[in-house]
């Protein structure tokens, strides 16, 4: 059984309405910019970031607790998704509704601010610091907003978090435990301490020379000269329903979540493994009842790190062989949304299906000659026969998650 996708919403560096998201996505417009980072005890440095144009104070907290920016984005994305689904509280038995949400580092930025207040300003710790910053804070706020009584499950699998959340909801719907699920992920972690932590890991694209300009082309997935990613922020939410439930309330949809698989490499905390990735893609294809040749488009994990892209190019070659689908890597445009990435990139995959075209990467650099993939560069590529698309999310810690979506009209 598949899950009907009746609504989706995003808060992303490419825009907070699907129309704006589409415009930037298919034009290959990058939202990445260089910003100066000044950490205590270190000189200033430039880092590539992709921020959302989003005012968290515009979102009221159902709990009345101060909202982490990521929780506010989660609420905004879910509001857009439920609106598109024409669904409201009361339309479904609350005990048959589930929430499945992914976040990589939860309210780490809020906690960074709390610690700065404590250590640098001797400020008292807010009594709500825990419930603002806990990794399931977005879940808790969403559960209050939508009066959810079925289940509220949070997933923390680093950069695969949201993809795992979406896929596990599919399983719960298939098992008959729920009729409907609000799913997705959020992360808003662009605080000095968190940015500094990623910078210290040396996975952010360096911005040293004058050629780096304003930083918008800093993240170059699958390019020969790729050097790392930009940090982004954002959220995406989907409404998933069983077909019986969607039909019962007269919902309209033309996209479905067809397949999902997750596994683990179990080899290294950061190094990706093509074998684990290929196993996950094959398992997701089996889950969807599809063959590799049915997939017309792949939204790659594509972090633009040297090792990450090499592993993914190899796993794609192993799965798709000599007839590769049109591959894109949207982190070039919106940065790495960490735990939210799997959800926002899955929405990008759905938009590709909706418009039957593959968005290009946002850079024009030469493809790494060692890679046998069909990377979409320049204008978006029309794919008139596109019916099935796949989105990869591969995480630190070894979790691999693959989602497959299909058009059904």
């Amino acid at each position: 059984m598949q899950a009907c996708i009746t609504g989706c919403g995003v808060v992303s560096p490419l825009g907070n309405r699907l129309e704006d998201f589409d415009d930037a996505l298919f034009e290959g417009v990058s939202a990445v910019r260089a910003e100066e980072l000044q950490l205590p005890g270190a000189g200033p440095s430039r880092v590539p970031l992709a921020r959302c144009n989003f005012d968290e104070s515009s979102v009221a907290a159902p709990s009345k607790v101060p909202l982490d920016r990521g929780s506010a984005m989660a609420l905004a994305a879910a509001a857009a998704a439920t609106q598109q689904a024409a669904w409201a509280v009361g339309d479904t038995d609350p005990e048959r509704i589930g929430l499945f949400w992914g976040s990589g580092m939860g309210g780490a930025a809020s906690f960074d601010a709390t610690c700065r207040g404590l250590y640098a300003e001797q400020r008292r710790i807010r009594p709500t610091s825990v419930v603002t910053a806990m990794p399931n804070a977005p879940l808790a706020e969403l559960a209050l907003r939508y009066a959810v009584r079925g289940t509220a499950m949070g997933y923390a699998c680093a950069c695969a978090s949201a993809a795992v959340a979406i896929g596990e909801a599919l399983r719960a719907l298939r098992d008959g435990r729920l009729d409907m699920a609000i799913v997705g992920g959020s992360d808003a972690l662009l605080s000095p301490g968190v940015i500094g932590a990623w910078q210290a890991m040396r996975v952010l694209a360096p911005l040293g020379g004058p050629a780096d300009g304003d930083g918008r082309l800093a993240c170059r997935p699958f390019a020969a000269d790729r050097a790392g990613f930009a940090l982004g922020e954002g959220a995406a939410a989907l409404v998933l329903e069983t077909e019986a439930h969607a039909r019962g309330r007269g919902a309209r949809w033309n996209l479905q979540l067809s397949g999902y698989a997750s596994n683990c490499d179990g080899l290294h905390i950061t190094q990706p493994d093509p074998t684990g990735q290929a196993r996950a893609m094959h398992a997701a294809l089996r889950d969807a009842g599809l063959a590799p040749g049915d997939i017309g488009h792949v939204n790659a994990h594509g972090t633009a790190t040297t090792a990450g892209d090499a592993a993914e190019a190899e796993s794609l070659r192993r799965v798709f062989g000599s007839t590769p689908p049109a591959v894109t890597a949207t982190k070039s445009a919106m940065g790495h949304l960490l735990g939210a990435g799997g959800a926002v990139e899955f929405v990008a995959t759905l938009r590709a299906l909706q418009w039957r075209k593959a968005p290009p990467v946002a850079h024009a650099a030469a493809l790494d000659a060692a890679f046998e993939i069909d990377l979409v560069r320049g204008p978006a590529r029309k794919l008139p026969g596109l019916n099935h698309a796949l989105s990869n999310s591969f995480a630190f810690g070894g979790t691999n998650a693959v989602l497959i979506a299909s058009r059904i009209d």
Partner: protein
């Protein structure tokens, strides 16, 4: 109690904590405003943020029985414009 202070406190209570304006009187006890203990503490932080100051902890524990909106306002007024004797001592 400075009426400007009272109005600002009432504004924070209505906008951030959904307390109906008509429930907020100077003599209203903080514990009668419908906020749970966590929200009461958060309310004090919201007030501090709003005024850009810090209320001495010994002046105010909002969970203390019978503490009123006017008591809070007087504590704020004292921080905003300390009584002459205290200012001299400082």
């Amino acid at each position: 109690m400075n009426p400007t202070t009272f109005n600002a406190v009432a504004e924070v209570l209505t906008t951030k904590f959904d307390v109906p304006r008509e429930h907020i009187q100077p003599q209203s006890e903080l514990q009668s405003l419908g906020l749970d203990s966590l929200s009461l503490m958060e309310f004090v932080f919201a007030i501090e943020d709003h005024f850009g100051l810090r209320i001495p902890e010994d002046r105010l524990d909002p969970r203390q029985a019978q503490l009123t909106v006017a008591d809070l306002c007087r504590a704020l007024d004292d921080v905003l414009a300390p009584p002459a004797g205290l200012a001299a001592a400082a």
